[in-house]
């Protein structure tokens, strides 16, 4: 069996794991990351991409609010290309308790969040689609953050500094040597190959999946998974983040995101053994749409693109297992202290907003154990792509001859790395995904540099297939490019085309009415009616005659 030796092993390729990998690498620690699926494919990629100012937590959880605003300011510097500094509003509807408005102003002050009262007229100027019936409005420094880009940029930076990354690789168990965890046994889920990685320290950043992992090391860790569902609508109907000014509840937030808007969220407890099979329920969709319509009436006339859900990783801190000790904050566990198992750390809880802080905390502890004295630099070292402010006018001039829309989209997604992607050869900037303006050059870059193993991964790196048509034409084109750039065999490409369409289908199914149904009829017509993709047998001699 193949054996890999390193200093630190990070389990989980979400924002926290990727951030930890980067932090370790920046401090000169040799590190390996193992992720069972794709980076940012779990909880990280399944939220509404809100760059919280902290205002949403200010009244109920001051500590979280303070963490949010601190990280908010840091991320706006180090992850510029993953962020849109849109600003956000908290609006009070006629049916809402008007006293919450004043409470929020007061608590924002305690938390250090700039919170400015504006007139209803001004709010409607900032956000013309808002419900004109609102009674009051506050402006806060909310923004949007793209979790896929953020995570990928962390991984890219770590890899460029020497870290190794294994995606689509499952950790089957922790390898114990006496009273310490010495390594992990892994299996490549695509090839079936098994191998072992040994390291001096293991950081468990696998979020809600950590319960299972810890169990394999003989440690009890209880997660309390809670499902949050979201709906994506097919137009960007708001300019700024719109929050409802009330005690946090379902369907309170509408976040603009690239070309679409997201409505979030719900909160439902789920059983731990069902975390990999959660689906969006019909009543959640109705709730989200009804609530969002109150904030922005246009929602009811806008096509719903898809619905998805994520699992929040709430964790029990002490040995008590009755649920009272569940924390919504960051939890860092030194299993040497808690369970007498050396070499293992768990970092869990928290939020996408605090991923960097969590990574810093985990890395501090790991470095203490490794006796590495270097300090954290992630709060002042820009991620790849964010080294300089993205200047659209300058980029458009630099790439004269390439359509501005292509330059703009590429810059938006990859920031300063645009120079590694675009060049003035027509093939390079030929469009593959027309909805999201993804070029062949961007796909080539993603295939070669960004740990892309299939079309679903490619979607997370580039937005291919995320637009109105949900991959009708570009899915096939992408499958062809995998073969062209030697990233897959023909058979693998055909198979990943099936997987990609099935993955898109999961999110469309719950909202299958109106134009979504029209679009899916067309898509099914192409891939089954025209192509017969469902008839492809991936074994020899499949056809009977």
């Amino acid at each position: 069996m193949k054996r890999i030796e390193t200093e630190a092993i990070v389990i989980g390729g979400g924002a926290t794991g990727s951030g930890t990998l980067r932090d370790l690498t920046l401090r000169g620690v040799r590190a390996v990351l193992v992720e069972k699926s794709d980076i940012a494919s779990g909880t990280t990629g399944r939220n509404h991409g809100l760059l919280h100012s902290g205002a949403r937590y200010a009244v109920n959880d001051l500590e979280s609010a303070r963490e949010c605003i601190r990280e908010n300011k840091i991320l706006k510097k180090i992850a510029r290309h993953c962020i849109e500094d849109t600003g956000g509003l908290f609006v009070t509807l006629p049916e809402d308790d008007p006293s919450y408005h004043g409470k929020l102003i007061e608590h924002c002050k305690y938390a250090g969040i700039r919170c400015e009262e504006i007139s209803v007229q001004e709010a409607l100027r900032v956000e013309p689609n808002l419900n004109p019936e609102i009674l009051a409005a506050l402006r806060v420094p909310d923004g949007t953050i793209d979790p896929f880009r953020l995570t990928s940029a962390n991984v890219l930076d770590a890899q460029e500094r020497g870290a190794s990354v294994f995606t689509h690789t499952e950790v089957e168990g922790v390898l114990r040597e006496g009273d310490r965890a010495a390594g992990v046994r892994c299996r490549d889920r695509r090839t079936g190959e098994e191998f072992e990685i040994y390291g001096e320290i293991i950081v468990n950043a696998s979020g809600v999946w950590g319960q299972h992992l810890c169990a394999s090391a003989g440690i009890e860790l209880r997660m309390f998974p809670s499902k949050g569902s979201m709906v994506i609508i097919d137009y960007r109907i708001n300019n700024v983040v719109v929050n409802r000014c009330r005690v946090p509840s379902d369907g309170d937030i509408i976040v603009p995101s690239d070309t679409v808007s997201l409505i979030g969220t719900t909160s439902k407890k789920v059983d731990y053994d069902r975390i990999d099979e959660t689906t969006v329920d019909e009543d959640e969709i109705a709730t989200l749409l009804e609530s969002a319509e109150k904030l922005i009436p246009n929602v009811s006339r806008t096509r719903v693109l898809r619905a998805y859900c994520g699992v929040r990783p709430l964790i029990a801190v002490s040995g008590e297992m009755d649920g009272r000790e569940i924390s919504r904050g960051i939890v860092l566990i030194d299993h040497e202290k808690r369970d007498a198992v050396g070499g293992l750390i768990t970092i869990a809880g928290g939020k996408l907003m605090t991923y960097r802080l969590m990574a810093e905390m985990a890395t501090d502890l790991a470095c203490a154990k490794l006796k590495v004295g270097k300090k954290c630099r992630t709060h002042r070292t820009a991620l790849p792509g964010s080294e300089r402010r993205a200047d659209q006018a300058r980029s458009v001039k630099f790439f004269t001859g390439i359509p501005n829309s292509v330059v703009g989209s590429t810059l938006y997604r990859h920031g300063h790395r645009i120079r590694n992607i675009l060049h003035r050869e027509k093939r390079n900037y030929g469009l593959i995904c027309e909805c999201e303006m993804v070029t062949e050059g961007e796909i080539e870059y993603a295939l070669k540099k960004l740990n892309v193993k299939d079309i679903v991964d490619l979607r997370r790196r580039t937005r291919i297939g995320m637009g109105p048509c949900q991959g009708q034409l570009c899915a096939y084109r992408a499958a062809g490019l995998f073969v062209k750039y030697d990233s897959a065999t023909s058979d693998e490409s055909n198979k990943m085309l099936v997987d990609f369409l099935e993955e898109r289908w999961k999110g469309i199914k719950p909202v299958l009415w109106g134009d979504a149904l029209r679009e899916i009829e067309f898509c099914y017509w192409i891939y089954q009616g025209l192509f017969g993709l469902g008839d492809v047998r991936f074994t020899e001699e499949g056809e009977e005659r």
């Binding site: 093939r427 084109r477 099914y524």
Partner: protein, 422 residues
């Protein structure tokens, strides 16, 4: 109402028999996204290939009385299909059939689809003979054409027992230098390329390239992008110049093979004196008792269009013939009674590629065997006929029956009107 395969077949039949007909069409029909072959019945209820569709139809109709084919009966289906073939022939499109049997056409992914009629570049006697002789095939593509990747097709063809002992190679040809510097040739769609080859200017150059790339193959299989308007002549010329059989594979939309049929049908309808109103949509009508007296359109400025009989051939959801809402399916023009499931979760199968097909494809306007629909309040409209993809109780993709149902129900509506049914 509806200028697709079904509406135009109906219109042509009506005009030819002396009834005056106007076709109102919103825009491009589903032919632009079709394979360009006409499927009759490709698969039975177990998903197995049907080889002799008319024989199958005879027994099938008896046990499926609400299927559109059952309304027509096997005899009328046959009559309709061969009528359709004759009409296209007058417009220089030859449709070939394998006598009473289905034949297969090759898809973009190298799977095989059973079908009944194909254009000569997809199926003909020579293709059949060359195939039976196990002749070598070259799958060719324009370098940089983003809508076709021969490698993805070749792997599936090679694995198919039908292609055992047939050598398949793939090769590249390059675009002619016809230089519109404003355009990026790596963004051409099938239709952009087809327009280049609507002139003869590049045929010789293309033939040379095909010969080189194909080596000693007998077939040159290419995505269908070689010309729309003069295709018959150009196809023959290209075969002469190369000495090869030039075989077409339907591509990602737009479908050149389908557009050729669309053009031919419109041209035939116009030649017979039919009135084709493009870019307008019927929004409603005036019902008096069990008769539809007139209809109004979006661009009609409120004036009513009167006729003795009306045909609704507005297609399925995709074409706008059916509309789905949060919790119901409706027919948007007249509010006709629709067959569907009440619960939205039952509209679809759990997987995207289900063995049993998706239920929503079998939704549509309920009619009697004369294709007359019911209004929502239960009135049967005697001079309104529903045809094509608007009809329920058949699954065009699972059965491989979309083209055949469109043609035969369109034809049936014409026959009913001509016989004075309404």
């Amino acid at each position: 109402m509806g200028g697709g395969l079904s509406g135009l077949t109906c219109g042509i039949r009506l005009q030819e028999k002396g009834a005056r007909c106007a076709v109102i069409s919103t825009g491009m029909s589903a032919l632009h996204f079709s394979s360009g072959s006409i499927d009759l019945f490709g698969y039975n209820g177990h998903g197995r290939t049907v080889y002799r569709p008319f024989e199958y139809l005879d027994e099938f109709a008896g046990s499926n009385p609400r299927h559109p084919y059952a309304f027509c009966g096997a005899r009328q289906v046959r009559e309709a299909l061969f009528y359709f073939r004759d009409q296209l022939e007058m417009e220089d499109i030859e449709l070939y059939n394998n006598e009473e049997s289905n034949h297969f056409h090759v898809t973009t992914l190298g799977t095989l689809k059973p079908t009944f009629f194909s254009q000569r570049s997809v199926f003909n006697e020579k293709v059949r003979l060359a195939f039976e002789k196990r002749s070598k095939i070259a799958a060719l593509n324009f370098e940089g054409y983003r809508d076709f990747y021969p490698e993805l097709a070749v792997i599936n063809l090679r694995r198919n027992v039908l292609f055992r002992n047939i050598e398949i190679i793939s090769g590249k040809i390059v675009y002619p230098d016809y230089g519109d510097p404003q355009r990026n040739p790596f963004e051409y769609r099938s239709v952009d390329i087809a327009r280049i080859f609507d002139t003869e200017r590049y045929l010789e150059d293309l033939a040379g390239q095909i010969r080189n790339a194909a080596g000693d193959a007998a077939f040159a299989a290419m995505p269908a992008f070689l010309g729309i308007t003069n295709f018959k002549r150009h196809h023959q010329l290209l075969q002469q110049l190369t000495g090869l059989l030039i075989y077409e594979i339907p591509t990602l939309p737009p479908s050149i093979l389908g557009m050729r049929i669309d053009n031919a049908l419109k041209s035939r309808f116009a030649a017979l004196g039919g009135v084709y109103i493009a870019g307008d949509t019927v929004t409603g009508g005036n019902l008096a008792g069990d008769m539809l007296e007139s209809i109004v359109t979006e661009n009609g400025g409120g004036s009513a269009l009167e006729a003795g009989s009306f045909v609704l051939a507005t297609g399925s959801f995709f074409s706008g013939g059916l509309v789905s809402e949060f919790s119901r399916v409706r027919e948007p023009v007249f509010g006709l009674m629709v067959h569907s499931h009440a619960e939205r979760s039952k509209w679809h199968a759990p997987e995207f590629f289900p063995r049993q097909g998706h239920p929503f494809l079998e939704y549509g306007v309920e009619t009697d065997e004369n294709l007359n629909p019911l209004t929502d309040d239960g009135r049967r409209i005697k001079n309104l006929y529903c045809t094509g993809a608007l009809l329920p109780h058949y699954n065009p993709i699972k059965e491989g029956s979309g083209g055949g149902v469109a043609v035969s129900t369109g034809y049936r509506a014409a026959e009913l009107i001509l016989s004075g049914n309404s």
